[in-house]
């Protein structure tokens, strides 16, 4: 093996950096798009609660939410050619935080008569969207 010169070693390091940038460009937008869609759909579902007219309104909002998330999942899986290193851990954190806030918020909101208005659902929309939007921002290519 021929030992590299400082110049050729620097060139190899630059090549590794370029490969890293390429993976970020490839993997970032799909993951980011999925998390942003999930965050916005969850916020929309939460904001729909005060205006939903009875059970049918809630069911309609839930259907829109489920289809939006399913579409995002399919787009993520079908278009995926690589996943960034560390993505699974960051993804798990964002999804875990989202699921916890969403589950607790829904449980309280749907079970309690005191939590039927905008004063409850609007802040919940922000809280439930935040983990996903932060996760989406972290996955953006840089």
């Amino acid at each position: 093996m021929t030992a590299p010169t400082p110049q050729s070693a620097a060139a190899l390091l630059a090549e590794a950096a370029a490969a890293d940038a390429r993976v970020r460009r490839e993997a970032g937008p799909a993951a980011s798009g999925f998390l942003a869609t999930l965050g916005c759909a969850s916020a929309g579902f939460s904001l729909a609660q005060p205006v939903a007219d009875g059970d049918r309104g809630v069911l309609a909002a839930a259907m829109v939410f489920v289809f939006a998330v399913l579409g995002a999942v399919l787009a993520l899986l079908a278009g995926r050619r690589s996943t960034r290193h560390g993505f699974a851990r960051r993804f798990g954190l964002a999804m875990g935080a989202w699921a916890a806030v969403f589950a607790v918020g829904l449980a309280v909101g749907l079970a309690s008569d005191a939590a039927r208005g905008w004063a409850f659902w609007a802040p919940l929309a922000v809280l439930v969207a935040a983990p996903c939007l932060v996760g989406a921002w972290r996955e953006l290519p840089r």
Binding site: A3, E15, A16, D20, V23
Partner: protein, 113 residues
Amino acid sequence: MSGPRGVHPRHELDELIHAPVRFSVMATLASADEAEFGFVRDGVQVSDSMLSKTVSALEKAGYVEVRKGYVGKRPRTWLRLSRRGREAFGAHVAALRAIADGAVPPAQPGTSR
């Protein structure tokens, strides 16, 4: 130009990774948890057969793991670095960085290089 143990960093280079195509493949996989065969091929700019051969060599060394799967009905091959491969690539890059930084090793009295 000395490494952590006072030896020239070229001794820390991994001969298997040092080959250009293997290095490019490892660099791509080091940035990814997992990457599809076609993505690596396009990035490294080699043919399918060349990448297969390279991956086989790296897999044999325990540096790369291969997973076959499907997206819909389309077969896909996914590549990832094993833990050993990630460590080996990290050490290789550290050695390259030491060489690129160009630190001069202390001369050993009575020895010539």
